[in-house]
């Protein structure tokens, strides 16, 4: 089980969190202007690196806030990203 550093509550067990996948994926500024290809990229394509990955977590059983960490997908080493 991961020990995940919530920026507001401190380190807590993974079981308290809900995973949100890749971070920094912005909603398209003008969705109607996207081509099918661009829309597909936004909806279905995410980074899947072997190594450092910027990802979202929600502290569902705690403060219920979203935050971002960088986690290495091969070692699970976590570095906090969002300052409070």
């Amino acid at each position: 089980m991961l020990l995940i550093p919530c920026p507001w509550c401190g380190p807590r067990d993974e079981a308290e969190f809900h995973y949100g996948g890749q971070a920094h994926v912005a909603y398209p500024a003008d969705p109607a202007a996207l081509t099918d290809e661009e829309w597909a990229r936004y909806l279905f394509f995410r980074d899947n690196p072997m190594g450092p990955f910027s990802e979202r977590w929600n502290h569902t059983s705690g403060c219920r806030r979203w935050f971002t960490v960088t986690r290495d997908t091969t070692t699970n080493a976590i570095t906090p990203e969002t300052s409070r």
């Binding site: 089980m1 991961l2 067990d13 993974e14 079981a15 809900h18 995973y19 996948g21 099918d36 290809e37 829309w39 597909a40 909806l43 279905f44 394509f45 995410r46 899947n48 690196p49 072997m50 990955f53 990802e55 986690r71 997908t73 091969t74 070692t75 699970n76």
Partner: protein, 398 residues
């Protein structure tokens, strides 16, 4: 040499076809390239030992009762091949058609299950809807009393589904492909793909450069990494998927039972161990070790369904890295790079498809065009919107 099932030679400098990944899919593809298409100048490059990835780690459930026509096509083709595979390969696979139950625990599960049974029948896939009493007849140890947290309201049943011995499947295919001239190069990691003029030319490996007429990716959980070497982005995410076995028990469990709602599936292997799988660990991962709370929940779910397992012991748990696609369906076909093919996205459920993928992917590589059965499973479908949404039939279940 003669006491080995397959050859594991030094790689040649060039092959007509290089397959990246020596799991079940890569090995079966090599076999059908040689057998169905006469293409024998083929190397399967495997970074570890042959079939030591998900092929060695899966819970071996075989079935073809998916919802949509596209899925019925490829999974049922696979099941038909399974039914003749021991004869085809001249090798015992412990293939056992002991039936597969998918339990329903809510009104929505019941409606989805009945719909899927009807869809299966229209596609010529054997399927029945069972009420709780009939579930009990097929599998007497399932708890079907109404006063539990998740009562069993019924189940879909595919009598032709079952299990096989995963290692024997890999070994049987490898032995047969080896006899036809295929090279299985182990401990050979692909580290780069050489692309020029829009066409793949060679692979870089830890054992040197190997020129290739065509390159077929079949790296399961590492598909994003290898496709990325040619600049191809895939809509898959890698996750750890865990399973476990109990100590050896007398035969108690005659079939395969799966439950999406309580997140567990169970069969009993020939040797006697109970084999149980869970859902994926939530976060992206390339680690083969998952979190223990997943195992804990899976055990709780198993005990709910099978109270008689309370005294069984966990002997071993393990994990594999699976490549999950957005619509729970695979991606098998062409890529934007000429001569480069991709087979991925089988996620938590590709073992059952092994013969079918091998057959269709070999056709795709040999002819440069998808086989009709994998034509719906293009990389393009995420742009066109023609998804094959199998979350209902595939999600946790295998």
């Amino acid at each position: 040499m003669s006491d080995r099932l397959w050859n594991s030679p030094e790689p040649d400098g060039a092959y007509d076809v290089v397959i990246v990944g020596g799991g079940g899919h890569g090995i079966a593809t090599a076999y059908y390239l040689a057998k169905n298409h006469g293409i024998t100048n083929v190397a399967v490059l495997e970074k570890g030992w042959l079939a030591g990835g998900n092929m060695a780690r899966n819970t071996t459930i075989i079935r073809s009762n998916y919802l949509w026509d596209e899925s019925a096509g490829i999974y049922e083709h696979a099941l038909k091949l399974w039914e003749g595979l021991e004869d085809e390969l001249g090798y015992d696979l412990l293939f056992s058609q002991r039936g597969v139950l998918n339990l329903a625990h809510s009104l929505q599960d019941v409606r989805d299950g009945v719909r899927r049974v009807n869809a299966n029948r229209l596609n010529g896939v054997d399927a029945e809807w069972l009420d709780p009493a009939q579930v009990k007849e097929v599998c007497p140890i399932v708890e079907t009393s109404p006063d539990v947290r998740y009562p069993v309201l019924g189940a879909t049943y595919q009598p032709r589904g079952g299990i096989a011995k995963h290692d024997y499947v890999a070994w049987g295919y490898a032995r047969a492909a080896s006899a036809l001239g295929v090279h299985f190069v182990e401990h050979c990691e692909v580290t780069g793909l050489e692309v020029s003029g829009g066409r793949v030319r060679a692979v870089e490996t830890t054992r040197g450069r190997i020129a290739a007429g065509r390159v077929a990716l079949s790296a399961a959980g590492h598909s994003s990494v290898v496709a990325g070497m040619a600049g191809v982005r895939l809509p898959v995410q890698s996750h750890t998927l865990q399973a476990l076995v109990s100590d050896l028990l007398e035969p108690v469990h005659p079939t395969v039972v799966m439950s999406n709602a309580v997140h567990v599936y169970v069969s009993q292997a020939h040797k006697g161990e109970l084999v149980m799988g869970a859902g994926i660990d939530a976060a992206n991962s390339y680690r083969r070790r998952g979190a223990f709370h997943i195992i804990e929940r899976q055990m709780a779910a198993a005990l709910e369904l099978f109270p008689c397992f309370a005294r069984a012991h966990v002997l071993r748990t393990w994990g594999g890295v699976v490549d999950v696609s957005p619509d729970a369906s695979p991606i098998v076909g062409l890529t934007p790079v000429d001569g480069l093919y991709v087979n991925c996205g089988w996620g938590t459920g590709g073992f059952k498809a092994t013969p079918g993928v091998g057959w269709c992917y070999a056709h795709t590589i040999a002819t440069g065009e998808p086989h009709p059965l994998n034509a719906p499973f293009t990389l393009d479908r995420f742009t066109t919107g023609a998804l094959v949404d199998e979350h209902g039939a595939a999600a946790v279940a295998h």
